[in-house]
Amino acid sequence: MSTPVKSPPPTWWTMALLLLPFLALIPVPIYNRVTPAVFGVPFFYWY
């Protein structure tokens, strides 16, 4: 059975990557549109 390991804190670029979904998805006006569509899939869906 493993004992808990105290992990080093995440690096700044790890934090940036982890914050990316929130930054990209909370501002809805960025992606609330149809164009540009890819293979017929509107931007709102493929984004």
Partner: protein, 513 residues
Amino acid sequence: MNSTALAVFTALFLIVTVLGFAAARWRRGDLSRLHEWGLGGRRFGTVVTWFLLGGDLYTAYTFIAVPALMYGAGAVGFFAMPYTAMIYPILYLVFPRLWAVAKEHGYVTASDVVRGQFGNRWLALAVAVTSLVATMPYIALQLVGLQVVIGAMGVESSGLAKDLPLIIAFAILAGFTYTSGLRAPAMIAVVKDLLIYVVVIVAAVILPIKLGGLSQIFAAVPAAKLTLAAPGPGTLGSYSSYATLALGSALALFLYPHSLTGILSSSSQQVIRRNAALLPAYSVALGILALFGYMALALHVGDRPEFADGFARYGSNFAVPALILDVFPSWFVGVAFAAIGIGALVPAAVMSVACANIVSRNIFREFVNPSATDAQEARVAKLASLLVKAGALVFIILVPVPYALQFQLLGGLWMIQVLPSVLLGLYLRMLNGWALLIGWAAGTALGTWMAWTLEFKAAIYTVSIFGFGVPGYIALYALAANLVVSFLLSAMWRHFTARSATGQFALRAEAQS
């Protein structure tokens, strides 16, 4: 009745029934101990955890309800995608630490963690009761998914015969959960998830070809539903509704006891982090499944006379079963419906094990028999798991589905109120147990009141900020109030206890001089 589909469905159900009972011998452990029965001995590695968490989070109800929402309401149903994109950074950052604390102290539930962090049994009880109350309707709603696919195969839809398949399925579920604990859904999740991926991949290839391409599918959606409606003047409208619904759902998901049980059953922090990177594969499958709602629109399944009865009974929830029935041969229909049906069993099993852990550890041991042995604890948990399932079955048989949905809506806004004590308590020493309890009460009361003003029919409440309307997910507004109260009262507590300590220090110094 679709006999071929029913035969395939039944055969796959029998296979998972055998697996469920056989799981008691898998990674053999002493099932008379709560952490072995209720957490699989904390031995699940990356692959098993991936299947278990995936099977646990992406439920039958998800696979029925998300496309149904797309079918009925359009783009707003796609909120499941940003929601599931936001959960994994939270899982990666926060939950390894929660796992480590739980492992070090032998904690089995979130209430255990809160009890240990704050030493406040009433706060821990609040977390426990919230978890139980929020999970019960969720278990019941898994049965809705099972009901829909059983009904779609043409099984009798009235009288006792209507409920008999559900009762049989639940009896099987109760049996293997009692004997095998968390090992049962972990093993069955492998079968369920493989079936789901097979169905999604096959359908994702076949359906667009049949419908003439992806552009034809989206062309069938009314323009007004293809994207979110732009807000009018003086309001953030659908933008804030959509964003807060996704964010609030993401914050709440891993607080549910069934999610936490899956996480605590992992063998290490690294397993959790790896799964935070690997689980998004399920979100890709969910995205494709969501589009099944649009495919059902493109095929006009709602206008077909052969599906009229199904839509009359189940509403938009019948969109995916109708789509599958229309396009695929009977044997594949059986496979797809079995995937959905088994997809109800896995989360229902984990939810009942999680609730049983809470009843045993945080109610029985804390308040009834503090000197309970491990064996007594495990026995109480097994009995509680039966009662929880029986309660959920009675609930869904007797209570109309709209009420179950309203209950689940309330469950979500209640569940998020434990976030400050369960998660923030891991990082912030300044928080006080009593302040958190009052904050929890404030958030729960406010959220429930907001939902009541909407007659429990909607999750979005509009707050006016300097005359500007901000529609938002009730759970987030209630959480904001919770946080303000918790931090304010904690700060006041620290201030007054520091002053009191300083005063006492000064008095002692004066007495000594």
